[in-house]
């Protein structure tokens, strides 16, 4: 009996502890798996040695408040004022609670809105509620002359960007102007001259993407030539909504009595009062610049901030009004090829030189196409996060592929500033989670409005000196490229840039600005123009 008892207890001890070796097995499995993952990751990260570039430096915001005048108080103007720290009473009552909370937690940039100019009475009155003592002016000239302002934010229709910027700079005011920087070629040069002659004022163009943390990391990836020679880049616009196609709402109080129509037109062709033209100005060349100035400029500048490639040597474009035949004359489907035949992004060799930047856009489909930089060694997908995929034919990563550390076509590096994460290998899931929108970026893992950061950088330069990340050089390149793309579309010819003369090559007798601003869908030259002329004679 005793013997049986002790036998039983031995058996029961075994049964009691039988799980321990299983736990050991699972632990060993986990250690081996994570160890080899870790080793591979370490090897990849060491080989790549990617460091996120630091964000543009910003200094102290202390001192007297910077007094700002806002010129153009539509949707974008309101957003820029909030970025500077000022919301209207209306917005504070009606915005999403999350947005209000984020706004209230926003760092104080020590600014004061002191003046406003908007040609629509309703908006101007709304702007007065931004703060106590905001003075309303019925023209920008009066605001610059009589307003108590150190700086102006310009968020008007495109055709007013440059004239107001130039006047403000000459009046000694700092300028933050929305993109595109200018509406035609002549004013692009004139604005550059104005910035040069007013070197005490700080001039910034509103390409807030320059603040995106993943782009700063991308700069290092390019610097270390991880992608090899980049021969092709694709950037895209895909929208499929009324708002996305600039079909903005027309205010019920809009009338010749509430809108200063003549002042809105400025140098644009004189036409009778037209509410639609006022609220949806992006749809006409006379005031806006369609996809080229409105959206391509963002994509172009995103790439220019990484590659610093400047104005393309050649630009060709095609497209048409295919999805919104509503009286607009800017295209809604638009493809632009920007050529850089002498750009070398890989290691110096004779075989690889030249790159095409392709901008492809439709306002009739919103399938997401990512920004993709395609190099001989790897490809980089770029959004709010960033992923690098090794090219199966890469020489640089050949050894790693042979050792099964990386697989051709798979991602080898991912950077997600949301989680403050850098990872050597990404799973399908985490890749899938990546990238949702570009309105936000991250600082130290915290979500921040990139417009706020861009305004902050401008204010810091005003207070502490330094140059904004998107200043006149970048703005000039952006504007010229956009105008080349607009001209290529309108003329139907490949436009060429003369880098020595710094001008777009025109045919004898051709007035490029006239063509660019012409309120027509397209201008035909050559055989087609002759046919057209002949048919008109008949």
């Amino acid at each position: 009996m005793d013997q049986e008892n002790s036998k039983l207890s031995r058996r029961s001890v075994l049964k009691g502890l039988a799980g321990i070796p299983i736990v050991g097995g699972v632990l060993a499995g986990a250690l081996v798996e994570s160890g080899s993952n870790q080793k591979n990751k370490e090897r990849i990260l060491k080989a790549l040695n990617i460091q996120a570039s630091p964000p543009p430096p910003v200094g102290s915001m202390e001192g007297d408040p910077i007094k700002i005048g806002i010129i153009g108080f539509g949707g974008r103007g309101e957003h820029l004022c909030r970025a500077a720290g000022h919301a209207t009473g209306d917005w504070l009552e009606n915005a999403q609670p999350g947005a209000i909370k984020a706004f209230k937690e926003q760092e104080n940039l020590n600014t004061k809105i002191t003046a406003v100019c908007d040609l629509f009475t309703v908006r101007a009155k709304k702007a007065i509620t931004l703060a106590e003592g905001v003075k309303r002016f019925d023209s920008y000239q009066k605001l610059l002359e009589k307003g108590d302002v150190d700086a102006v934010i310009i968020a008007t229709a495109d055709h007013w960007h440059a004239p107001i910027s130039i006047a403000a700079l000459d009046a000694g005011k700092h300028v933050y102007v929305e993109k595109p920087m200018t509406h035609n070629l002549a004013e692009t040069y004139a604005l550059r001259d104005a910035v040069k002659r007013n070197n005490r004022t700080v001039f910034a163009v509103g390409h807030q993407h320059r603040q995106t943390q993943s782009f700063l990391t991308a700069q290092d990836i390019i610097k270390k030539k991880i992608l090899g020679h980049i021969s092709l880049i694709q950037v895209n616009t895909n929208r499929n909504s009324d708002n996305g196609a600039w079909q903005y709402g027309i205010h019920s109080e809009a009338s010749p009595a509430t809108i200063d129509w003549d002042q809105f037109l400025g140098d644009a062709p004189k036409i009778p009062f037209n509410k639609e033209h006022f609220f949806r100005w992006r749809k006409w060349w006379a005031y806006g610049s369609g996809l080229s100035g409105d959206l391509m400029t963002h994509d172009y500048d995103r790439i220019n901030c990484i590659l610093n490639m400047g104005v393309p040597q050649y630009v060709s474009a095609s497209g048409g009004i295919y999805t919104h035949r509503d009286g607009r004359n800017v295209p809604d489907v638009y493809q632009v090829n920007m050529e850089y035949p002498e750009l070398q992004t890989g290691r110096n060799d004779e075989k690889t030189m030249g790159m095409t930047l392709v901008y492809s856009a439709t306002l009739g489909n919103q399938h997401n196409r990512s920004t993709l930089l395609m190099g001989t060694e790897a490809s980089m997908e770029l959004g709010n996060s960033l992923t690098v995929y090794v090219d199966p034919a890469s020489q640089q990563f050949k050894e790693m592929m042979q050792d099964n550390v990386v697989e051709g076509g798979e991602s080898i590096y991912s950077y997600d500033p949301a989680g403050n994460n850098t990872d050597g290998i990404t799973s399908a899931t985490s890749k899938y989670f990546a990238d949702k929108g570009l309105l936000w970026t991250y600082r130290d893992g915290k979500r921040v409005d990139s417009t706020f950061l861009h305004i902050k950088e401008w204010l810091s330069c005003i207070r502490n000196g330094g140059n904004p990340s998107c200043g006149i050089k970048e703005g000039f390149e952006e504007a010229i490229t956009a105008h080349m793309a607009g001209l290529a579309y309108k003329i139907g010819r490949r436009m060429e840039w003369d880098p020595l003369k710094e001008e777009i090559i025109a045919l004898p007798g051709e007035n490029l600005d006239e063509i660019l601003l012409a309120n027509t869908d397209r201008i035909y030259h050559g055989a087609m123009a002759n046919d057209l002329a002949n048919s008109m004679k008949v």
């Binding site: 009691g16 299983i22 986990a30 798996e33 994570s34 997600d416 989670f433």
Partner: protein, 159 residues
């Protein structure tokens, strides 16, 4: 609790318990050993009726604590089921965890999944099945026969 199983019944139940334990333990250990792991992306990608809650969690300052809790729970549930220690209590914890995973990505018709699934599911997913399997293990306990609990609990009769 007095239970009575045939040998093959007991084998089947213990086998199920250990496999689920293995699964939890391995998931917990791999997350523990990866210093960069966080459930933030998982929570932020949540779909379905409770997505607002999960998105709020993912964006909140509680993320650090949530990750630690998740890893700790996974490992403890894994150890409990594998070793046969307090399996009833930890099975309940396991069910709570699995139901949360289920609710974060409910396989309901018409919901766009924000993560690619490795199978096809309609209302029933593997998370739900595993949760119910844990419920079975609660109703048919085995740790008093095969596991550390037998040192503390009454013997289970086998027939």
């Amino acid at each position: 609790m007095e239970m009575s199983y045939s040998k093959s019944q007991l084998f089947a139940l213990v086998f199920l318990r250990i496999l689920i334990g293995w699964h939890f333990l391995y998931e917990g250990l791999l997350k523990l050993l990866n210093p960069l792991w966080t459930s933030e992306g998982y929570l932020m990608g949540s779909t379905g009726p409770l997505q607002r809650f999960f998105h709020w969690l993912g964006g909140s300052d509680l993320m650090g604590i949530i990750d630690v809790l998740n890893i700790t729970a996974l490992i403890l549930i894994g150890l409990s089921l594998t070793l046969g220690f307090r399996t009833r209590t930890f099975s309940y914890v396991g069910i709570v965890l699995l139901v949360l995973y289920y609710l974060a990505y409910p396989p309901l018709p018409g919901l766009e999944l924000s993560a690619p699934a490795e199978g096809s599911y309609f209302i029933v997913s593997k998370n739900l099945i595993e949760a119910v399997a844990l419920f079975v293990l609660i109703k048919f306990p085995t740790s008093a026969f095969f596991g550390i609990d037998q040192f503390f609990a009454k013997r289970i009769k086998t027939t």
